[in-house]
């Protein structure tokens, strides 16, 4: 129960931190999407219900803060979570290079889903205009992903005295 009570608060803090880092370090040129890595991590380590709820909340908060269509990021994050969840049985998710490549793939997948949505809804093709930024953004977050995984592992050990 504590998980569901604390979850919204922690997710809000995560989104705020993410926005601040994006603003200060990357001057809003790249989005430093830690939330995506969190979703992938939960896909590897949490059960289906908890992870889906987390992905939904996280996406929804991001929708509200980021100003996109409410529900869009929630939908995308749920898809990413499911994808990570079902594929985690096939991968050695402790390996750094697996984390990097999978994060990179998921970052691109997320952009592709968003692009398809915007194309269908608003007839806008983001990939054509911002493919370099999207690629760099995916690369940066995938390279940082192992560190974030490690930090989340340590947090889990600190709270539960074992890995999540």
């Amino acid at each position: 129960m504590l998980y569901y009570l604390l979850l919204p608060l922690l997710l809000i803090l995560l989104i705020v931190l993410q926005s601040t880092i994006t603003d200060i370090v990357f001057s809003n040129y790249f989005v430093f999407e830690m939330s995506l890595v969190v979703v992938i991590y939960t896909g590897f380590h949490l059960d289906l219900v908890k992870g889906t709820i987390l992905a939904f909340f996280l996406g929804f908060v991001l929708d509200c803060v980021g100003g996109s269509v409410p529900g869009l990021f929630a939908f995308v994050y749920i898809i990413i979570f499911w994808f990570s969840f079902f594929i985690s049985d096939l991968l050695d998710t402790e390996k750094t290079h697996v984390i990097i490549f999978f994060s990179f793939f998921c970052a691109l997948l997320k952009e592709i889903i968003l692009n398809i949505f915007y194309y269908l809804a608003f007839d806008v093709n983001l990939l054509l205009d911002a493919h370099y930024i999207i690629f760099m953004q995916a690369l940066i977050i995938s390279l940082v992903a192992p560190l974030l995984f490690y930090l989340m592992d340590r947090t889990g050990i600190f709270i539960y005295e074992k890995k999540v």
């Binding site: 931190l17 601040t20 219900v49 889906t52 939904f56 509200c64 803060v65 409410p70 869009l72």
Partner: protein, 275 residues
Amino acid sequence: MFFLKKYKIIIFISVLLVSVLIMITYNLKYGTDKSFLRKIVLETVSPAYEVLSGSIQSVQDAWLRYILLVGIQEENRNLKKKINELKAVIVTYQEGYQEAQRLRKLLSISENNKYRFIAARVIGREQAALSRTVLINKGSSDGLKNGMPVIAYPGLIGRLIDVSWHVSRVLLFIDENSNIDAIVQRNRTQGIVSGAGSRGMIFKYISKTQDVKEGDVVVSSGMGGVFPKGWLIGRVIHVDKQSAGLFLKINVAPFVDFSKLEELLILSSEETVVE
């Protein structure tokens, strides 16, 4: 009921997904501004934003101030270095300027007289209790001889007493052994100017009946053939008429500051071309 228990997870996930899709569709159709949940989330997020942004802004400001201070320190160091360099340049220029001023004065002497002058630089001083002499960097190889008058702006200062090949010694008028025949420019009263060391010079053998006043200019008389006539020697600064004896006790201050002599002219011969 058994069906619900068995598939509750799938049902829950499906409901959530359908909800999300409905949410998207609804917001696409009716716009996002009216979303109540959105306002709730934004209201919740804003305090966290303020706290985090404020903290980071403080750190950022402190860092920028630090960077600024480091920059200022570096700039300060460079400016101090520059100031020292410029001070050295200014000293050089001042030295050159003052030398030029002195040489110009000497040149004005040589241009206004039809004498042959030899310029020399002071290279040493001897200011013992009884002796007031300076060494110059010219000697007999430059045409100097014993007894030649030595001039510094604006008048006479002494004569050569020791002439070596490349160095000579000048006996200054303030030396106790120096005597020169002189007259008061105003009324041509004649006497002898003798050196008095640090007290300057004394104008001797002037009768108490003579009219000599403070401020009178004393010039060379030309008697004796050593010093040319009419060259400035000094100014009367004190006349003591109360003293015992037949003569006045007259103190004369030289026009030249003997402690600051640097360049001199030696009058080598009369009525010749200026060199």
